[in-house]
Symmetry: C2
Subunit: 244 residues, 2 copies
DNA sequence: CGGTCGATTGACACCTTTCAATACGGGTGG
DNA sequence: CCACCCGTATTGAAAGGTGTCAATCGACCG
């Protein structure tokens, strides 16, 4: 029923580092099943201490924090291949929530086995640290964008990043990929109001730079959009990362 | 000459998780010396691939990224106990720079020994992952502040966080601690202009909430400042973290 | 058909940036 | 010893980007 790690479709993307056969067998034992959830379903709650860890296999979601005043910060968009729950596994409890935006399929891992990574599979333990470092890197980039770019640059930056990820994962057909979020989600990710996000998206659409509607994103000339975002096409590419 | 890990003064703070005697001996072998640098000295450069790792022992510094347009994002303030260089060790090269703001003393570790953490000391390898998760957590908090709070809240939040850290590390005398940064550094950390940061600091000073000048920060009533920052005094405390 | 949710648009207020000028202290060279 | 320069802190005024308020519209659903 559940996909075998050896046949994992994600492994086809060269975004992810290759695994040894032994590591793949180990992951297969670590994996206890698959979970399918509907759009809108919460997966992990801030403050919770879930007994399970996940890898997103299909579909997209959100990581976010909720503030006392009711506002919300979207930390990032969850894409296939993302590992979910590492914070809880290592720090004790989640500092943010995770929720599905589209229908999602997730590999489920048993957290009680987590320690075996470090005890018996040091390569995989190293990969966990690598993974944490990669998320830290992405968060740093997001912080930089939110703090230093204006609204147009921010939205353009986010759409570029999303498109890059979509291409790398093989989610795109031509210049179009699915993007099952609301404008409010993007606004909360970039620290902009919904209204201003909407107007900025409208401007990018008018300029034929990016078109996001009906759950689909189209960027015909990503190089041009990157220039507008103030990104450097040479250095700004996705780092290879481990896949759990 | 160099401090023995067993006598490390940082270990006195209960901010850091305790280590087994065996782990302390291991860290002593891992440590190759101490480095003393002047204010303003770059320690690691973005894109570099340093053969060394560090733990800040005394003094303070900055982690930052530089953008194409010349602007700068301060990712966080480096305090005693911070581990420096993990990204390079695990991802290959640094994605940001690190620089001293005051005179600093750093423990120097040999990166070629890094792999031994995972091979022979799984508890320490776990701590590395823990450390990466903690930095990710802090970065997420910073992103949330920058994206969701206004200037007054942001500055108040940053000063609270700094004061909390200073108290936990025993850097403070009464309600005062050293803070050897420029206003521009805080502005670059919070995504505010220098001028507006200056005026916001002035308002907090006028309201007798926080006084930062001549390298010293005084916060007489931190609970009041936290309320202004929109922080929750109950849940917002520093997580215990490992010390390398 | 009424009701809800998300997207869209216009007007207006205001927070923040930018520009510019001043002040102050430390260091350097005459 | 003083003039000068440089980096940092401070202050005022004006311009502009972004948030808030409010209303409309279309799609979907019971």
């Amino acid at each position: 029923m559940a996909t075998k790690c050896a046949q994992c479709p994600l492994r086809r993307s060269d975004l992810f580092a290759a695994l040894s056969d032994d590591d793949i067998r180990f992951m297969d034992r670590f994996k206890v099943g698959e979970l399918i959830i509907d759009p809108g379903t919460p997966l992990l709650m801030e403050g919770s201490n879930s007994p399970q860890l996940f890898t997103a296999l299909r579909g997209m979601g959100l990581r976010f924090k909720t503030l006392e005043n009711g506002r919300r910060q979207v930390l990032n968009f969850v894409f296939p291949g993302d590992f979910i729950g590492l914070q809880a596994a290592v720090m004790g409890e989640m500092q943010h929530s995770v929720q599905a935006s589209s229908a999602m399929t997730l590999c489920v891992f048993n957290r009680s086995e987590f320690w075996n990574f470090f005890k018996s599979h040091p390569e995989r333990a190293f990969d966990l640290t690598w993974l944490a470092a990669v998320s830290e890197h992405f968060l740093g980039e997001t912080l930089t964008s939110v703090a230093q770019r204006n609204a147009t640059e921010r939205v353009a930056w986010a759409l570029c990043k999303i498109m890059q990820r979509g291409h790398a994962l093989g989610l795109s057909k031509g210049h179009t990929m699915p993007l099952p979020y609301r404008q409010q989600d993007l606004a909360d990710a970039l620290g902009l109001s919904l209204v201003h996000t909407n107007k900025t998206l409208g401007k990018l659409r008018d300029r034929q730079l990016a078109n996001w509607g009906d759950g689909m994103l189209t960027v015909s000339d990503i190089a041009k959009l990157m220039r507008i975002a103030g990104m450097d096409a040479d250095t700004d590419c996705l780092p290879t990362q481990p896949l759990m």
